[in-house]
Amino acid sequence: MADHDHEHGSELGEMQLRVRALETILIEKGYVDPAALDAIVETFETKIGPRNGARVVARAWSDPDFKMRLLAGGTAAVNSLGFQSPVGSHLIVVENTPREHNMVVCTLCSCYPWEVLGLPPVWYKSAPYRSRAVRDPRGVLADFGVTLPADTDVRVWDSTAETRFLVLPMRPAGTEGWSEERLAELVTRDSMIGTGLALTPAVPS
């Protein structure tokens, strides 16, 4: 557990009380609908998550025409797949190649393509990543256990405005003929942020 990012003991109790008190006030005044609040929580706990992004990647690996459209304009291409939650404008998809590996960060806050990846993980929003991704991306990759080939360049995208970036990881070898559903299982959230690579097919024992 990341100590910096989790409340302890009495501070936890204090936050629960303060949050509940404010929510009560907002409901009493008619500013928020408690059912809408519940729906938002449920949406982010169960309905929006990296599985959407994984499906986009699997489609791009399988369908060259879709991949071309995706790289030309992420928003239109993703919305053409008809997911329940629409993607906002200016989603840019950046492709990893043997020449260049992409990594996405928001040094200023926590901007993230949440419609396709769900809520960002604590590490993405924390000082270590936000400060080091632009300074020492290969060192950050090492923290994630990733070492790139010596001749692969790194490109870091700092999300300082409303453009959002999704990394299209490289398709692993040994997946020829796989269905999109099976391919999607190889696509990790971290591989779509750029702090990881897609999983490789399990070697049969």
Partner: protein, 208 residues
């Protein structure tokens, strides 16, 4: 800043570590929908937290502080009500309220606006970021001030955060992806095979 140590990933991390975090997110979204403040003002209110509090608190604890502050500064809730933990008088009328049926369609806001002038720069132009250090909100990170890079793409004309955050209007500006060599940003010892880009608004840039 440096010295924060390694990036530590929690395996199989849940969206919310405690129920109150989910409630904070939900309140933030629902109140944001009401249209009383801009996302830029929300970000600015977090940047206004004192650094020690900001760095030593969890993400959602800071968000909560921002929400608690904004509802007071916008006259929705009184400080006495916050202290009492309950409403003491009727609320004001909001421009709009989020209905449960509207939650499924929630997506990021639209910030692109019609341009009032042609874009000053084109893809391929060498530009230098200004050494801007406003005391108010900006989206030009400190590490990228006074640096020379190349315009890679034009991203349209968007609400300008520097003015939107302080109630000085949307003042739309052209937005560019500007890419820098790591050595330009961090010195000759930096990795020659790394580049870093930012999304830069036109007022941040000058020809190089």
């Amino acid at each position: 800043m440096d010295g924060f140590g390694p990036v530590v990933e929690e395996p199989n991390e849940p969206p919310f570590h405690e129920p109150w975090e989910g409630r904070v997110l939900a309140m933030q979204r629902a109140l944001g929908y009401a249209g009383l403040w801009t996302i830029d003002q929300s970000r600015a209110s977090l940047e206004a937290l004192d650094p020690v509090t900001y760095l030593s608190s969890s993400y959602y604890a800071n968000w909560f502080r921002g929400v608690e502050h904004r509802v007071q500064s916008h006259g929705l809730v009184g400080a006495d009500e916050i202290a009492a933990g309950r409403s003491l008088r009727p609320g004001v009328t909001l421009p709009r309220t989020l209905e449960p049926a509207g939650v499924a369609g929630l997506k990021r806001g639209e910030y692109e606006r019609p341009a009032s002038a042609p874009a000053r720069f084109a893809a391929g132009d060498r530009v230098r970021t200004r050494n801007l250090n406003p005391v108010t909100h900006t989206r030009l990170p400190r590490y990228a001030r006074g640096k020379t890079g190349v315009v890679e793409a034009i991203r349209g004309c968007h609400v300008y955060p520097d003015t939107a955050a302080i109630g000085a209007g949307e003042n739309p500006q052209w937005l560019y992806t500007v890419v820098f060599d790591a050595r330009e940003l961090w010195g000759d010892d930096a990795d020659p095979a790394t580049r870093v880009s930012i999304e830069a608004f036109e007022p941040y840039l000058e020809p190089a």
